[in-house]
């Protein structure tokens, strides 16, 4: 079993865990963290799965993952701003559970 496969499997596991958390939790911060978990899983998959069997590092993937991390940080920041504002307005850390569809 080479390291890349381990990376990939870990990534898939993280994604699954993150996805579960994203669906399961109501607390907005927890959901944001779960999203970050999915993101990190995805990056692991990118690094691991894409480079398997090549023996050399793939610069494209490294560049992509870097970009991805930047984007994810930005997303987290935006989420935090919104959540903080929501907390100031409503004093709540979760969205009202309306069944509006």
């Amino acid at each position: 079993m080479d390291t890349n496969l381990i990376f990939t499997l870990c990534g898939v596991g993280l994604c699954g865990l993150g996805f579960f958390g994203f669906i399961y939790h109501r607390h907005l911060l927890r959901r944001l963290i779960a999203f970050n978990l999915i993101g990190n899983g995805t990056f692991l998959v990118m690094v691991g799965f894409a480079q398997r069997g090549q023996g050399v590092t793939d610069h494209v993937i490294q560049a992509l993952v870097l970009t991805g991390i930047v984007v994810a940080v930005a997303a987290t920041a935006l989420g935090l701003v919104l959540i903080r504002r929501w907390f100031q307005l409503k004093g709540s850390t979760q969205l009202p559970e309306d069944d509006a569809s």
Binding site: R31, F35, V45, F49, A50, A75, L78, L82, I83
Partner: protein, 487 residues
């Protein structure tokens, strides 16, 4: 090509520069700077259109950095049409916002609008799947920011829901792209199309990408985030979101589906997409009929209209090239007509709400007497959305009908016709309210004429499309990657 000569880089650089500049400039200068930017955008779009129609598809590598690390861009007929569409709609919404928002709001509106515009152009012109991801994310941030802009509880809640749905969607897309890179070894659209290999990894990747994009396009039953976000935002923002933003993820889906010939290899998935579209048409129409607030009716109408666009996927059939061509053209025409009609309708609805000061339908009584021009604008957009002639919406529906006949898929005909009746029902329901006369004294505010005229001209374009459909159809049928991949 030289940067000065090609309009493609300008379509990205100007909006990004605009975003930065309008953040730094004093409040009073931001509108002026934006107006200059809007005109250069319109000019760049027209130049691009000229080049593409006369010299064929255009390619451009940003700062001469070639793929795979650089940002490479391409403009075929389809992309050019979308650039033109977004330039027109975004300019109209920008001018509307300039008159509609207060100085303070307006000043903060511009940077977000420019980010939105940059990411839209980035998506239309992207030549590789990762740039599409970056575009999608940037678009999400700008759009979420714009939704939260109304700065009340409802819109904040809507924007958080929207953000979470969109983030999940883009992550699914990114994971799909990662798997695709692992399986195919490239990210560029054209080389992916050339060396496409089906395998289990690719199938998982396609499923992830499909799921992510469906969530971001708000295709039924993943649409729940859309109505509060589109219905709760400020009027010019609602128009931008419904007319352009959801089209971005749809556009990516369309490119994947056709360029990688997914429609040929997974016809059952296409049928599933069609079924979701049918669900969207019926459910969206039904929900629009039950709303009590004007903008929510329009927002649910968007859910239904996305369904119409999704109906083009099952009609792309490998065995029947004529039916596929009709479906492709009809679907794009539907999208185009919807962009103008829905922007016009949201702006007209915003004017009506401004007049009455209340967002609900009952308060519209007497409006068709007080603001006939505005009702007319709403009505013209409605005609196109209902798919009644003469309008772009009708021509599109006609092409989809013909495509269904040709490929023998009569069940979509039933859906198309039922959907028209449903949309007629919810639009005329709004009309019935505006024609009502009550004894209450009129206490209406009068919107500026320019606001009404902007709404009217957008709706008018959706009607004119009924007479000038050939022009966009010829444009999207110019030689390019999409046309090569169609049967």
């Amino acid at each position: 090509m030289n940067m000065i000569l090609s309009p493609i880089p300008w379509l990205l650089v100007i909006p990004l520069a605009g975003a930065t500049l309008t953040m730094l400039l004093p409040y009073h200068w931001r509108s002026a700077a934006s107006v200059v930017g809007i005109f250069t955008q319109l000019m760049a779009s027209v130049i691009l259109w000229y080049q593409v129609t006369h010299y064929g598809p255009q390619f451009y590598a940003m700062a001469d950095w070639q793929a795979p690390l650089g940002i490479s861009l391409r403009a075929d007929g389809l992309a050019t049409l979308f650039v033109l569409m977004s330039s027109l709609v975004a300019s109209a919404c920008a001018f509307y916002a300039h008159h509609y928002l207060s100085l303070h709001k307006r000043a903060n509106f511009w940077p977000l609008l420019w980010f939105l515009w940059a990411s839209l152009n980035g998506i239309w012109l992207a030549a590789d799947t990762f740039n599409l991801y970056v575009g999608l994310e940037l678009l999400t941030f700008a759009a979420v920011g714009l939704v939260a802009f109304a700065s009340d509880e409802r819109s904040l809640e809507a924007s958080i829901r929207y953000l979470y749905a969109a983030l999940l969607g883009s992550m699914a897309y990114l994971l799909g792209v990662a798997l695709l890179y692992g399986a195919q070894g490239t990210l560029a659209m054209d080389s992916l199309a050339e060396t496409w290999q089906w395998g289990p990894t690719t199938q998982v990747a396609v499923t992830l990408i499909l799921g992510g994009l469906l969530l971001k396009t708000a295709v039924f039953p993943l649409h729940t985030w859309l109505p509060p976000a589109h219905g709760g935002a400020l009027t010019p923002v609602s128009a931008l979101l419904s007319a352009l933003v959801i089209k971005a993820s749809f556009y990516i889906l369309l490119r994947f589906w056709i360029e990688f010939q997914i429609y040929q290899f997974l016809p059952s998935l296409s049928q599933l997409l069609g079924a979701l579209g049918a669900g969207a048409i019926l459910w969206g129409g039904w929900m629009a009929l039950r709303q009590t607030h004007l903008k929510m009716v329009v927002a649910y109408s968007t859910v239904a209209q996305i369904g119409y666009m999704t109906l083009m996927f099952p009609l792309l059939v490998a065995e029947n090239s004529e039916a596929s061509m009709l479906a492709y053209q009809g679907g794009i025409l539907m999208l185009l007509a919807h962009a103008f009609a829905k922007a016009g309708m949201f702006l007209a609805a915003g004017n009506l709400i401004f007049c009455t000061g209340k967002p609900d339908l009952v308060s519209l009584a007497g409006m068709s007497r007080y603001r006939p021009l505005n009702i007319f604008a709403f009505g013209l957009a409605g005609v196109s959305l209902m798919g009644l002639p003469p309008s772009g919406g009708f021509n599109a529906k006609w092409m989809l009908l013909q495509s269904s006949f040709m490929s023998g898929q009569w069940w979509w005909i039933v859906v198309l016709l039922l959907g028209s009746l449903l949309s007629a029902a919810y639009i005329f329901r709004v009309f019935a309210y505006t024609y009502q006369e009550t004894d209450a004294l009129d206490t209406y505010k009068r919107p500026r004429l320019s606001l009404e005229l902007i709404a009217l001209s957008l709706s008018g374009i959706s009607i004119l499309l009924g007479f000038a459909s050939l022009w966009p159809l010829e444009m999207i049928s110019l030689p390019g990657p999409v046309m090569e991949a169609l049967p």
